[in-house]
């Protein structure tokens, strides 16, 4: 097992490196450069001054050279400093990462908290009108734009009910963004759960459990839930990355201070070190999550062993 985890980590690191190199090359071919953005709003330098700024930031070197320099720095643990205001990339990202992770985790909890029971219930009542209503609900869930749901919730809770502040930045205001994100993904999870459960319901071992005299509720909870979770976990793994991506929108709506906002801003103004740092952190989270998910598999399904 330890062996397996170590090997997974090696592959993970390889993917991270590939991502960094990929993103470094990509951002340099993308039109626009940070110097233009630095001077975009108020200053009006001469062409020579612009050249000087490029040189000072090392942007005059060939792309591959910049990439190699960056990789060297990353290996020595230095993620560099933002081109805009020169704050430390690592400090900022690691400071904000917990917020995004908290949001993603809370959203995931809500998504599974809503999606799992609903999918479970729809499966149990398969083919009835309840099932149909839940399916339409799922479609609504994925079709509602996150910013829209987010704003509606925000306006309702902060203006109409005056229960929550618009932007407190603390954990009180985790609820709404998490709900907003969670709703979309709960719909997907509900559908996956439903189909997984329906398959499990037809399994022989469910009949065995019933034949044993266990009450129906216990049969479902103990015997049907865990096997269907395996399929659900797969979809959770896939969804998590999109959820992290979706966090960008929701962080903006709720002024939630996560890395998603940094990402959007940095990309908009070509803050290369910041983008690279973001990708590094984002990719690390994604890769770690997939490792975690694989371990969750082994925990859920004893037939799966890693050695």
């Amino acid at each position: 097992m330890t062996n397996y985890i170590i090997r997974r980590f090696i592959v993970a690191v390889a993917i991270l490196f590939a991502s960094i190199i990929g993103v470094s090359l990509l951002i340099h071919v993308v039109p626009g450069d940070p110097v233009i953005m630095m001077i975009a709003q108020n200053s009006n330098p001469s062409p020579e001054q612009i050249e000087n700024m490029r040189k000072a930031l090392g942007l005059d070197r060939p792309v591959w050279e910049q990439t190699v320099i960056y990789l060297g720095k990353v290996l020595s643990g230095d993620l560099g400093r933002s081109i805009f205001g020169s704050q430390s990339v690592a400090m900022l990202l690691f400071d904000r990462l917990p917020n995004t992770l908290a949001l993603a985790a809370a959203a995931m909890v809500i998504a599974t908290g809503i999606g799992l029971p609903l999918g479970f219930f729809a499966a149990y009542r398969q083919g009835t009108w309840i099932d149909s209503v839940l399916m339409v609900g799922a479609v609504l869930g994925v079709s509602i734009p996150q910013f829209w749901l987010g704003l509606i919730l925000l306006l309702f809770f902060s203006l109409t009910l005056e229960w929550l502040p618009v932007a407190s930045g603390d954990y009180r205001s985790l609820l709404l963004p998490a709900v907003t994100l969670g709703v979309t993904y709960s719909a997907i999870i509900a559908r996956m759960t439903r189909s997984a459960m329906i398959e499990v319901f037809t399994e022989d071992f469910i009949r065995t459990a019933r034949a044993k005299g266990l009450p129906e509720a216990l049969v479902l909870r103990r015997h049907a839930l865990k096997p269907s979770l395996i399929a659900v976990v797969t979809i959770i793994a896939v969804v998590f990355g999109y959820l992290m991506g979706g966090a960008v929108v929701v962080e903006n709506v709720f002024a939630w201070n996560g890395i998603g906002r940094i990402a959007l801003e940095s990309i908009n103004r070509r803050d290369y070190p910041m983008i690279q740092g973001f990708i590094l952190v984002f990719a690390t989270v994604i890769v770690l999550i997939s490792i975690l998910i694989d371990l969750a598999y082994a925990w859920l399904d004893p037939r799966i062993t890693y050695r």
Binding site: R210, A211, K212, G213, L214, P302, R303
Partner: protein
Amino acid sequence: MAADTVRPILSIRDLRVTFQGGLGLAAAVDGVSCELQRGETLAVVGESGCGKSVTALSILRLIPSPPGRIAGGAIEFDGRDLLALAPEELYAVRGNAISMIFQEPMTSLNPVLSIGTQLTEGLIFHKRLGIREARERTVEMLRLVQIPDPEARLAQYAHQLSGGMRQRVMIAMALACEPRVLIADEPTTALDVTIQRQILDLMVELKERLGTAIILITHDLGVVAEMADRVAVMYAGKIIEQAPVDGLFDHPRHPYTRGLMAALPRLDRLSASGEEGRLNEMPGLVPSIYAMPPGCAFAPRCPFATSQCHAEEPAFEELSPGHYAACWEAGRLP
């Protein structure tokens, strides 16, 4: 043994089970009646799809619903009608007074729960044992079904056991609460002869020790011959012949039963003669339950069928003491 003097432990009367399929409503079991005495082994044989499993599942009300429905009849266990029980009462019967072993040992155990969990939960639920006591009792059961190193097995999962061991675990699970009736639905079909032999031996031994009555569903006439006291032959949702085992093998009265016996490749005869030949096959197939013929369901395949057979359903009659059959021509068969 005088069957009518002792009150049967289980009696099924006129059971009718229907399925709502894409092609309409169909009766998978259509008027089955039979009785099971204490300590007796009743074998149920019949072609695939004739309703053996559905009958067995009906006893514990395990018919998947929808699409299935128990549409009529009564199942009395120890004087109580199982079909009228409230859910809680039913749970108390299932796995406790009546338990069941299924055909597929591979899929009938939950792959993600440990053997121990699955074995103890019945005991904890029915006998209100503590976890420790339940484990002790379970270990004892596993020892009884000859599983080596039972303590260690409790922590294992189904996939870590071989097919034979899984089936033994199923048996241990079924017997844990010392049921008075054991329904075994093709318990050895999926197993090899050598393993099958072990399982059958085990069932005989357990029956002797615990006095359990067994309903043994199988289509292997060899198994029937070795295990059963009495045999019921089913065809297309009905029991068409029922007799003590010797009587049935000596003198089958229904043409279908005869066909079945003849179709069997028999090692005992082969090894004696050493010559090969065609097996006696019955032409045709079991009718689809969605398109039952009028009259005797076997008539279209029956070499002895008369016009009466095609028009009228034969009655289930006692032809000799304890030997019943449903055939217009039973008396005239060679």
